[in-house]
Symmetry: C2
Subunit: 332 residues, 2 copies
Amino acid sequence: MATIRDVAKLAGISVSTVSRYLNKSGYVNAETELNIKNAIDKLNYQPSVVARGLAGKNTKTIALLLPDITNPFFPELARAVEDVATIYGYTVIFCNTDGQVGKEKKYIDALKSKNIDGIIFASNTLGQEDVDKLASFNIPYVCLDRAPTNGTCSVVRSNDLEGGKLAVQHLLDSGCKKIGHIYGPQDLITAKERLIGYEESVRVYDWFSPSLMVPGDFGIEGGKKATEILMKRHPDIDAIFAGNDLMAFGALKVLHRMGIKVPEQVAVIGYDGINMTEITEPELTTIAQPTYDMGALVSRILIKKIEGDIEEDQIHVLDIKLISRDSTRRRG
Amino acid sequence: MATIRDVAKLAGISVSTVSRYLNKSGYVNAETELNIKNAIDKLNYQPSVVARGLAGKNTKTIALLLPDITNPFFPELARAVEDVATIYGYTVIFCNTDGQVGKEKKYIDALKSKNIDGIIFASNTLGQEDVDKLASFNIPYVCLDRAPTNGTCSVVRSNDLEGGKLAVQHLLDSGCKKIGHIYGPQDLITAKERLIGYEESVRVYDWFSPSLMVPGDFGIEGGKKATEILMKRHPDIDAIFAGNDLMAFGALKVLHRMGIKVPEQVAVIGYDGINMTEITEPELTTIAQPTYDMGALVSRILIKKIEGDIEEDQIHVLDIKLISRDSTRRRG
DNA sequence: CTGAAAGCGCTTACAG
DNA sequence: CTGAAAGCGCTTACAG
């Protein structure tokens, strides 16, 4: 591997000048520039990012902390993050935290020792300590969905409150008369807001009862159990709004097993808009988050921050969208 | 951030000794050791991986090149790779190549300039040039599924040939009399071997005809189109073996649309064993690859290689497994 | 068992 | 416009 010294020697100048050329910092004579270019070409020179990093510059790598890449919501997000990172010449390290603060802390330490340039938190945790640590390390970060308890950073999320309302409205528009809700873990803002959206839209009706709200775990299994509970408590409901698509999958399964027709007897709507919603039978109506856009945006914001585009920390709320499919289609 | 020099100073010794202690290279007096430990604790010292990297040691990071994390086969693989990497103190960079050599090359260059320790290729491409480049860079790598055309490296794959045969056998055992096959892109060894497995199992039957083999793209859409073609050509088939689960999903969709009952009229079996196979209706029978195990193994092999555990390059072929579900259950 | 020195490949003031 | 020198935080022979 050629080094900057080799380039300098071949171009007949000093290392400093080559460095200046490379970084476009300071002047360099047109002719010298040409010589440098040629030398670089001839030697197939590529600067060492690690040396650069040691010398105090960017390491051109960011990290993406997420709970579990195996959860179908995250691959698309990760893809988007990586796509825009690549555009800017960054590389992304991905870390599965399983939502455990312990793991998250370990990652942060490891990342710090690698002089990572910034971190995207799509992970659920991130306590006060982490924030402090990051601040003391002076490493930029951006959050997905959840703003850190204390301290500020830019946040990208989508409008879960509106989403919850939209889901209910769609169900009502489809002619449903009594709607149950399976909500996700309430330490997740997303789950919380969707629940609030549901409740606010629904509490004016006289059929409403708190027992229509059943907890789930954002997984298929949780969706199944919750559906069983819901149908036992309220055999007369004609719609289920699941807090995410996985739980909706669970609901479809259980309803099918119980011989309850979807959507004729019970309509089902999910949330997130993951790809697999179109392979169920019936295909699942869902409130789609702009997952890819969220990933792209969060990545872009972080990189800007890293590169010194000072921008006020702010919360970006992206719009959600109803994808209407057969699982809520009440009439031919 | 404390540096090794701070530690040395606090412990009242030289930097060299601290380094020796850190790397467990060379002797260090028991008392000195204690002093170092204390100093490290007090200062909350953490060695800089990038400095270490510059000085010629591992950067403790590996890269995972895959076609697209959005393809449901890869998240589980990636998760496994990351899990074992973490155990060994490594961090993983993930790269979506979309199967394009151009992207792959770019990544390799970028990774090289970061002194990455090793690469896992789960990507489809990897031509001769890449291999040469890697060899010249002297960077360890391991492949998933596909051995590089030329040059050697360890390969982890599962037994696709057996898998193809197993799929057919299962269908025959279920009482199917005429089986079609949707095969994946033939530049992928996995797709090819599954096809061969099918053909070898089936060509002895007089119902067999080459027109029973229809190409797909390993995607849902391709599965749909192929199924349409297949059913038009051979309305009398009673089973479809799809080369992967996504295409099987497509098949289920189309059959449902055509009013053909699965499994009563046509049984369907997929391949890969991705999680979502259990959310379709009927649930999809599939030949499951040990995806997680494959990822864990490939990661472990790479890290061993990096750390100098010289091991003969070899091909590890893991077993596949039939997961029998309703989509092939012909009788109550 | 321990330390001084050189080096990894860059960048960054500081002179000129 | 250009170069010499110091420094980033480590490791690695080489002496002692």
